[in-house]
Structures are given as C-alpha cells and as structure tokens.
C-alpha cells in the first residue's frame, strides 16, 4: 500500500469511479456545510469512510484586512481587527493595541492594564464557551450549546455595559482605554465569576464522563507535540499535546506576570485532551479575573499618546495568547500616520494546517470532530 501522505487529495486525474471501487472517493465538504464553522471548504479523499487525505480551501471570507490597514491610520485600523476573530474580539484588540504601543514605546497605565486583563480573560471564557457549544453540537450533543450560550450571554452583557458593543467590542485604545469602568463593573465581574463556576461544572457533568463523548473524542485527531511545533500550532491544541507553552507565561505581556495561574497541559494530544485543557483554561481564566478584580488600582486609564500617531520608522512583532493560540501582529512603520504593512499571524489559520495530519487514517465523522476541536474562526483564517 502506498503511503497515504503521498496521495494528494486534489489529484483528480484518477476518475471518481463508484462507491464500491472507492479506493479514492473525493468528497467536497463545504463551503456550505453545517459543521465547517462558516465557509471552510474541505476536499476529502476517502477510502470508504477512511480519510486518505484532505485539503482545505479557504478564502471564502477574505476581506483583505491586512491591505485595508495600509490605507488607514493606526487608530482607524483598530476596529478592523475585531472583525477577524469575531468571537474573541477583545483579544484581537489587545494584541493590536499592544503592538502599536510597543512601536510608539508607550505603556498603558496600570489601571488600564488590569481592566484589559479582566476583559480579555472574560473574552477567553466566552470564546471557549462558544467553542464548547459548537464542538459538542458537531459531535451530536445539542444541549451544551444552549447552556454555554446562556452563560456567554452574561459576559456579553458586561461587554455591552462597558463599551456598548457585544461582539465586535473595540474595547481598547492605543495607549489605554477610552472608557472608565462603569459603576458596578467590579461587582458585575465578581458576580459573574461566582455565577459561572458551577456552570462549568455543569458542562463537565454533561460531557466529561459521558461514554459516547469519550468514545468520540479519545484517540481522535491525535497530534504529537513535535508535529505541533513543526506545524506552528499553538494554543490549547499545542498544550493538549503536552507542550507547556503559553505566551502569558513565556513572554508576559500586559501585566500577566502579576497574576498567579497555571498552564493546563494534556498528554495524548487527542480531542478529549484538548477538551479538558480548554475546560481547565476556563477555570484558570476565572482565577486570573478574581485576582485582577481584587487588585484594580486607581489612576488614569490612558497613557500620553499623540493625537496624530506617527510611530518612528521601524518594525515590531508582538504576540499575545489569544483563546485560540498565538495571535501575532507584525507592523512595519515608515514614519507616516499609516502603517506600511501589517501582517497578522492568526492562530486559526496556522492551526488549520494541522487538520490534514490530524485526520489522516481517521473516519469522516472524525474530521468534523477535529474541525471542531481546532476551534477555527473563518473570519480569522481568511482575514
């Protein structure tokens, strides 16, 4: 038998014969498919139900965000980053703001840093909740979706109260925050933390020891830590494969070094481990939020930044740990008001490359589980 990796999924020369003769049956999944999380198109090469290889076709949601950046000022581009990973808009904003701040050599004041951390971690929980709901839905459990959406609603309410938007928040400004935390922000966050803790237990009750869930996720989409590093996979996927790599610890940004939290890791690198890692990350995020909300200092929320930003000529790469992995911004400044080039390193895009490796020799149903477990957002993949 030939090595399945030598077969290109797009090798369409061999005729698509029949089901019976389906040494190579090519099936097109997406872009309109309920389980591809938007407009991902996957071309599957199957042997019966076994996946010989697959190729992702992306770009159905391409909006040219990086090009747009070159025609906008630094401030004007800020809202656009929210549209990339729209379920974790706050993290995207944080990454961009910090990158530009690095370029300008300013630092946001402590109070702003604390509020940023709270909002970003809240957003991480929201993102993981949405992931859990849709992932479970893909595997056939419909109920967790409604549970997670119910609880995510509380986070979105806090966002709405804080900055007026629920999804594409545009919460941060370069140099700090535009809005002071509203009256009762801290108590809202505290209430949320005590509200959501038992809810996470509830999700785990539904799934963690569920026999069918275990059978569907254990040993599915296995990827080793070595492969992850070779492919550039980051985030929970990398950590579930046993690599303890979290930019919040490795290259602390914002003021994460002030907080005490752990990096959950898995061992087997399968779908179940990724599920467990994300569940534990939600708990760790709550821990960070608890610490941050206790320690919010008084003070200004905006550093001194010029009205018209003209960063010095140079380039900067800054990355943060977004819910889905390493989110990096590479910005080249030519000294004008507009960036010369902005390149985004979106975690979803890079993680999606691992799909092929993870799905080889698995079944079609597993492809869906693996797409779910990679937690991709097509807005970010296509930009």
């Amino acid at each position: 038998m030939t090595d399945p990796r030598s077969i290109s999924p797009l090798d369409l020369d061999t005729p698509d014969k029949t089901f019976l003769d389906a040494n190579e049956l090519v099936i097109n999944m997406g872009p309109q498919h309920p389980a591809t999380h938007g407009v991902l198109r996957v071309i599957l090469r199957l042997d019966g139900e076994k996946v010989l290889g697959l190729e992702c076709v992306i770009g159905y949601l391409h909006r040219g965000v990086e090009k747009i950046a070159e025609n906008r000022t630094y401030t004007m581009f800020n809202p656009y980053v929210d549209r990339m990973d729209y379920v974790a808009a706050v993290s995207n904003g944080l990454g961009y703001c910090e990158a530009v701040e690095k370029l300008l050599s300013v630092e946001a004041p402590p109070r702003a840093q604390y509020i940023r951390v709270i909002l970003t971690e809240l957003n991480r929980i929201a993102s993981h909740q949405l992931w859990l709901g849709t992932h479970a839905l893909d595997i056939g459990a419909i109920t967790p979706l409604f549970y997670t959406f119910r609880d995510r609603e509380e986070i979105l309410k806090i966002f709405e109260k804080y900055c007026g938007a629920r999804l594409t928040t545009h919460a941060f400004r370069i140099g700090g925050l535009q809005y002071e935390a509203y009256e009762g922000f801290e108590s809202d966050v505290r209430n949320f933390v005590s509200f959501v803790k038992p809810k996470i237990d509830e999700y785990e009750e539904l799934l963690t020891t569920n026999r069918i869930w275990l059978e569907r996720t254990k040993g599915v989409g296995v990827i080793s830590g070595k492969d992850c590093i070779a492919l550039g996979v980051t985030g929970p996927v990398l950590r579930a494969s046993g690599v303890k790599w979290d930019i919040r610890k490795a290259q602390p940004y914002a003021n994460y070094k002030n907080f005490d939290f752990e990096i959950p890791t898995g061992e087997n690198g399968d779908t179940y481990d990724r599920y467990i890692v994300r569940m534990m990350e939600m708990r760790q995020s709550l821990r960070i939020i608890e610490q941050a909300v206790e320690g919010i200092p008084e003070g200004p929320i905006m550093a001194k930044v010029p009205k018209v930003m003209k960063p010095p000529v140079g380039e900067v790469y800054h990355s943060i740990e977004a819910p889905k992995g390493e989110l990096g911004y590479f910005i080249v400044s030519d000294g004008s008001t507009q960036p010369y080039r902005v390149r985004v390193r979106p975690p979803s895009f890079v993680n999606l490359q691992a799909l092929d490796v993870m799905c080889r020799d698995q079944l079609v149903a597993d492809v869906i589980a693996v797409i779910g477990t990679l937690d991709i957002v097509l807005g970010e993949v296509d930009r």
């Binding site: 014969k17 029949t18 089901f19 019976l20």
Partner: protein, 183 residues
Amino acid sequence: MNPSLAPNPPVATPFFFYGLAAIMIIGGILVITRKNAVHSALALITTLLAQAALYLMLYAPFVAGVQIILYAGGIMVLFLFVIMLISIERAEKERQFNKQWLVGIVAAAALGGLFITVYTTTTKGRVLFPEGRASYMDMQNTQGIANLLFDQHGGTYMFAFEIASLLLLVAIIGAVVMAKKRI
C-alpha cells in the same frame, strides 16, 4: 391454545387471488424487463409481498411472516445495497439483453408445455392434481411448524435444520471472503 385466535373463514377468495396473482405476474414481468436494477428490485419486492399475502390465504401465516421479514426486509435490502454499490448509470446505457432470445423462448416454451401437460394429464379420469380445497383449519400454524422442526423427541427436520444453519454459516464466511478487500 387460544380459541379466540381461530381465523375466520375466507372472504372473497377469488377476488383476492386474482388480484394478487395479477400483481405477482406484472411484478415478475417488470423484474425481467426493467433497464434499471433498482426498478427491478422494487418490482420484485412487490411480487414478494403479494406472495406473502397469498401465503396468508393458504393458511401459512408463519411462512408469510418469514417471507416478509427475510425476503422483503433482508434479502432485498441486500440486493438494493449491492445495486447502489455498483455503477448503474453505465449499466443502463448498455445492451440489456444477451443474444439468447431463442434459447430463452425455446426453454420457456418447453417448460410451459411440460407444465401444461402435467397439469392437464388425467389418469383413470382423474387429474394429477385434483382441485382439492383444504378444509379450514384451526391449528396454530407456528406451533405445527415448530413441532416438525424440533419437538421434544427431535423433530422430523431437526437434522435438516442444523444443516441449514451450517449452510448459513458457510454463506456468511463465503460472502465476507468474497466481498472484503482486505481481511
């Protein structure tokens, strides 16, 4: 034995017989003339179900049940399954009949002639198969069959039954060996 289970005397027998016979014959003709194998299979299913109804008319409810559950629900699903696995579009465009029309007609005519002869032969003024109508029986058919197959002292057909089970085992293994690409 439950007396309330005694079947009723037959109603409108000729009507049902000719109706079902017509369904069976038309179904049979469709089976051998359709281009598309799925259509043939559906026609065959109709024939089989009509035949199950005929079994009921013959007071053979158990055989009728077996006919439905095994033939229509089992074997025909297998047929449909296989038809879907092999390409139909191509098969449909090809020539449907081989060049054995003559052989077919001759064989059919010979056999038909044989049947007619047999059915109309009279010996000593009696036809070979008299028009004996079975009287109505209030026997529990299923238990009767069970007694023949395996009663306490080893039924008449116990050995044949075991052989049949062996045959099925052989068929299972044979089918798996034939159809599986890699064992």
